[in-house]
Structures are given as structure tokens and as C-alpha cells.
């Protein structure tokens, strides 16, 4: 038995050696691996990351080779999938969900020569970078549009899970809306899922039934927007441009655009200039895009474009004071801007949200 074991270990070592040798060969293209939490066919989060992968292929051609594993469960399965990519000679690995954080770090420790990029996390290492996008910038813009377009003064928000990312989005949306109409109301429904078209549709219907004439969402499917179209109200696309699903209802969509970042980071590995960084880019870094403004009067469009331009240039920050918390406490003083640390871990609502956060 022990002999067999020894033999197995020896073979494994030999093969592993052969593989690393292969990876070191300069003529080989750089293998870039991706781990997705959902199916590429979700047309949301994982889909947009895959668009980024395709952009790398398009931009760098035969200098790179990309591989991916989709529908990887957050947990032990993720560590195995990442390990597998590492063992199969990937030189750069993108792990595209928060739930892969510890697993990414664990694998990175075992493979110090491989570069890792973890999306939306906060733990880094010498060979692990983190990156995320300031989607809240887009949410501020759509909040302004919502307040201009709404007759009832109530928007409905279909939300997934109460994590800082989503809470931040809700706050930014309402701050944008309040900048136009200080009495604007927001109703929130949590569906406890990123991805359940049926439940998302139900939530949208319930919100419309309670008087919301603007539907916005922080879940992945196109269902809420489709309901808006059906019931004659308007709304916003999420993650990708959803105009095909709601030609009359989509005002604009916040588009996740990972391609610029992915191409830059891949180039950095090819040039040997890659270092561990923490990137939190917004409209200025082209990570957050707005699709065409449609179905709205010209003055609203002009306002939206102006806000977008100001955010892009850095002239305006959505979380600029004064900002009051739900209970009336002053959170950011006039003239100050909420710092990134607080923003990253945001777990309180701004004044005017009609919902309670679990603490």
C-alpha cells in the first residue's frame, strides 16, 4: 500500500513539475482563468464578466488563452475549481464573486507565482488583487431620473440581499431622487435571491400595486423591467442593457463593464508589471457605464447627462454631505464626502427609506 502511495505521489510531483515547466515557457500564450458563480446564461452578473473575458480574447488575440468554470458554488467547491485552474497552468485567475474570497486567498498561498484577482472582496495578498465597481454612481443618476419621471413620487426597489453593495445602491438612488424631489419615497422588497425571475416579477407587481410608478432593481434577471413594460410604468436595466426586453419602459441601464480592467490587468501580467492593487473604479475608470437615455423628455436627459459627466470627471460625488441617516442623525457634514471605508461597509439607510435593515 505504502509503495503505491509513494508511486502516486512521485508521479504527481513529476507531472506537476512538467506542468510548471510548461507554464514557464515564454512562447506559450498566457492562460487566463475565470470562475463564475452563476451560469453565463444569467444575462446579468456572470454574463457581464464573461463579456470581459471575451474582450480580453478580442484585444490580445493569440497572446492569451482563456478558460472558465461556471456555476461554481461558493464554498469548498470554489477552492477546488480555483486550484484546478492554477494546476492547469493559468497565470492569471479572476474569481468573480464575493463568496470566493477565502478560497482565493487559500489557493493563492499555495501558488505564489500565479496572479489572482478577486472581485468585490476586501482581503488582499502579494499575489491577490481586489477590484470592484462604483455602481452607486450610476444609481445616483437613475435616482435623479426617477424623481423627474415619477408622477406618484414613489419608486419601487427590487433588492436581493442586504449587503453593503446593495444598501449603498439604495442610498445612492434615493439621494439622487431627493436632489430633485426632497419628498421622494422609496419602497424596498427583498427577494432573498440574486436570481429568481418569478419572485422578482412578483415583487415588481406588488410594488406597482402599492403606487410605485418607477421600478428599479438590484437583482439579475430582466423580469422586473418586463413587468414595468407590461403595466405601463418605467424602470431601469441592471448589469446589462435590457432595452430589448422593455423598449418602452427602460429609461437607461447601469452597465457593468469589466473589459477595460480585465484587458489592463492581463496586459500587466504579460508585461511583468502586475502588482497587487485595490481597485474601486467608477464611471471615470469606465467600469460603470450608462446605456442610452431613452423614453424621457430632453430636459431630463440633459440633466442625467450632466450628472454623469460631473461624476465621471470627479467634480461631483454622490455621497457628498449633508447626508442624514434614517433616524435623522447627521452622517456626513456639509462640504464633506463619505469616505471609502464607510462606503465599503455601509449598513445604514439614508433618511427617507421606508424599510428596516437587519442589524
Amino acid at each position: 500500500m505504502r509503495k503505491i502511495l509513494k508511486l502516486a505521489v512521485a508521479t504527481a510531483l513529476l507531472a506537476a513539475g512538467a506542468m510548471t515547466a510548461g507554464a514557464a515557457n515564454a512562447a506559450d500564450p498566457l492562460k487566463v482563468g475565470f470562475i463564475y458563480v452563476g451560469p453565463i446564461g444569467d444575462h446579468g452578473w456572470s454574463y457581464q464578466h464573461d463579456q470581459g473575458r471575451l474582450a480580453i480574447e478580442a484585444a490580445l488575440g493569440d497572446k492569451v488563452e482563456t478558460v472558465y468554470v461556471e456555476k461554481v458554488a461558493e464554498g469548498p467547491d470554489a477552492e477546488r475549481a480555483i486550484t484546478r485552474l492554477a494546476r492547469q497552468g493559468a497565470g492569471l485567475i479572476f474569481t468573480t464573486s464575493f463568496g470566493f474570497m477565502e478560497q482565493t486567498l487559500a489557493v493563492a498561498k499555495k501558488f505564489p507565482d500565479i496572479k489572482f484577482e478577486h472581485a468585490t472582496g476586501y482581503k488582499r495578498a502579494d499575489n491577490v488583487s481586489t477590484y470592484s465597481a462604483r455602481f452607486y454612481e450610476g444609481r445616483y443618476v437613475i435616482g435623479q431620473i426617477a424623481a423627474k419621471m415619477s408622477k406618484s413620487g414613489i419608486a419601487g426597489y427590487v433588492a436581493s440581499f442586504p449587503i453593503p453593495e446593495v444598501v449603498r445602491g439604495i442610498n445612492a438612488f434615493l439621494l439622487g431622487a431627493q436632489s430633485v424631489n426632497p419628498d421622494f419615497k422609496l419602497k424596498v422588497v427583498w427577494v432573498n435571491s440574486w436570481f429568481d425571475p418569478g419572485k422578482e416579477a412578483d415583487a415588481a407587481k406588488v410594488l406597482i400595486g402599492q403606487g410605485a410608478d418607477i421600478i428599479t432593481q438590484h437583482t439579475d434577471s430582466t423580469a422586473p423591467l418586463q413587468i414595468a413594460e407590461e403595466q405601463g410604468v418605467v424602470g431601469f436595466g441592471q448589469a446589462s442593457n435590457m432595452i430589448k426586453f422593455a423598449p418602452k419602459a427602460q429609461l437607461t441601464a447601469i452597465v457593468d463593464d469589466w473589459s477595460t480592467y480585465y484587458i489592463d490587468r492581463t496586459k500587466a501580467v504579460l508585461d511583468g508589471t502586475w502588482t497587487s492593487t485595490d481597485t474601486w473604479g467608477g464611471m471615470g475608470a469606465k467600469m460603470v457605464g450608462m446605456s442610452e437615455y431613452t423614453n424621457m423628455p430632453d430636459d431630463v436627459k440633459a440633466m442625467a447627462m450632466e450628472t454623469q459627466a460631473k461624476i465621471t470627471s470627479g467634480a461631483f460625488h454622490p455621497f457628498a454631505g449633508p447626508i442624514y441617516k434614517q433616524d435623522g442623525e447627521l452622517a456626513v457634514a456639509e462640504g464633506a464626502v463619505l469616505n471609502d471605508g464607510t462606503l465599503a461597509g455601509m449598513n445604514w439607510y439614508v433618511k427617507g427609506v421606508d424599510d428596516t435593515l437587519p442589524q
Binding site: 508521479t11 461556471e70 464554498g75 485552474l85 463568496g99 477565502e102 449587503i163 455601509m346 437587519p358
Partner: protein
Amino acid sequence: MRLVLERRAERSRLMGWLSPVVAVALTLATGAVIFSLMGLDPARALYVYFLEPVLWWWSLEELVVKAAPLVMIGVGLAVCFRANVWNIGAEGQLTMGALFGSALPILWHEFQSFPVMVLMLLMGALGGALYAAIPAFLRTRFGTNEILTSLMLVYVAQLIADWFIRGPWRDPQGFNFPKSVQFEGWQLLPTLGDGRMHLGAGLALVAVVVLYVVMSRTLKGFEVRVVGTAPRAGTFAGFSSKRMVWFCLLLSGGLAGLAGICEVAGPSGHLQPAISPGYGFTAIIVAFLGRLNPVGVLVAGVMLGISYLGGEAAQIDLGISDKTAQVFQGILLFFILACDTLILYRIRLLRPQTA
């Protein structure tokens, strides 16, 4: 021409061994055809799919990690199903086990000496068993069907866990992300070397051995079989069907709970909302593929593990999609199930007789 089954006088021992071989051969043949139709080299594809997971030390380790919870839950369910107790809520019991077991390391993080591990494992098993006690109580007290109660409670358990992990139990230093503190010291199960294979695998093996002995050598095992196959005879023999429901649900719930805490304290190392990728449901298939026999469950668990790992390897190596892998897995299961028929029956083709 018509296909009919003819019952054998007794279980065919030969077929018992042969049927899995035939099933694998059929799957290989089908796989070869599918892969060549997709324009892949069938030999390489099959190698990646079936052999690679067992040829490397690290992937063997991964196989064990993947199979351990399936086996641990599967053996418990096998006993349940033998006794005609339909616990299909093992996924919920697993979640509760994970939650109970994690209470100590989360609430008392400084407690990192050896006893904490023992307590965590016990609490995990207790959590699963307590959660399975709900359907047991409702069944024995009110006659409520356990298929519905155990299944519905899965969703409830996941929501409870979700609330804890996003609420009071999240890591205070974790920027309010849904994740508990990282376990440390003996809060983590010991692993073999610095690999990924952890104590959970050993516990799964113990469960297999113990239940094998119980089922084949003890009165309790006899009781389970009698109550399952001939409930009336069981009543005459003085076996209480209520006690049997309790026994089966507590046992399978406890094992599922144990599997849950082993996942969290083993390969995970912390609690996060996605605790299991559906192990509790997959274990139902494992139990039946293993013919409700503890040793069979062990084999079936490993086999299913291979098909998962192979599917993943195929995604990376061959560039086939996750769906193809899943379809392939479905086909494999069908072949195994169909071939098992040969153990009990002979297949005959009948030509239509002219009367």
C-alpha cells in the same frame, strides 16, 4: 417485439458485481459517441472525465472531500428509506447542523483548544437531529406526511441560516459582508498533511462501518428491514413503527448535521450563506445508487464524486460547458439504474405471438 422482465429466483450475485461494470461501459460508449459528435477526441475526453480525478494525489484528495458529505448523509438516508421513512430534507438538517456547530467558534472565538472540536461535532449532529425531530414529531403525533414537512423545512433552515449569517453572526471586521469570522486552531478539523482531506472523511468511513454492522448484525437492523418490507409483520413482532420513525429521522438528521459542521469546519473554515451545493439532495440519489446498503453508498458516493470532478475538469480541459457535463451525469445515472435491474430480473425480448 416487446421487452419484458422476468423475475429471477434470487438476486443474481454475478449481476450485482457486473451491473456497475456494464453501466460504466455503456456510459463510456455513449460518452465516446457524444464527444466525437462534438468534435473532441473521445479517448482524451474520457480520460479527462473519468481517469484524471483518480490519477493525481491532489484530485484524489478533492474526490474524498467531495464524496465524504455525500456518503455520510447517504448512509443515514439509506437506513431511513429501508424503513420506508421518507426524509428528503437532509439538506435542511445539514444547514442546521452547520449552524449549531458554528455557534461555539462564532460566539466564543477564543476557545480554540482541542475540546472545542469535539463539542462542535456533537453540536452539529445535535442540530441536525433536532431539526429532523420536527418531522418525526409531526408524523408520530399528528400523522403528518414527512415528505412535505422535511422538504419545506429545508427552505426554512436556509432562511434561518441566511438571517444569522447576514445578521448577528457576521464577522465584525468583515465590512458587513455575509460571512462569519474565520475559524482557528481546533475549531478547524485536522487535515492530512497540509492537504484538503479532513477528519470528516474519516467520520464518514466510521459511519459506513457502524451502520453496516448495525444493519447486518443487530436486532435493530433486522427491525428496520422488517418494518420497511412488511409493516404488519413488524407490528406482530412487537416493533413500534413510531419508534422506528424517530430512530430513522434522528439518525439521518444527526448524520446530515454532522456532515454540515464538517463542511464548515473542514474545507470551508467559516460560515457563509451558501453552505452546501445541494449535498442533502444528491445524497438521496447516492443512497439509492448504493442500493440502500452502507457499503454500496460508499461506492456510489465516490462514483458521483468522480462525475462531478470529471465534469469540472472537462470544462477546463476540453472547453465543454457545464450543461454538457450535467447531461452526461444524468445519462450515467440512468445507465447505472437501468443496469441494476439485471440483478433482480432477466430481460427477454418477446416476438408478438399470433394467436
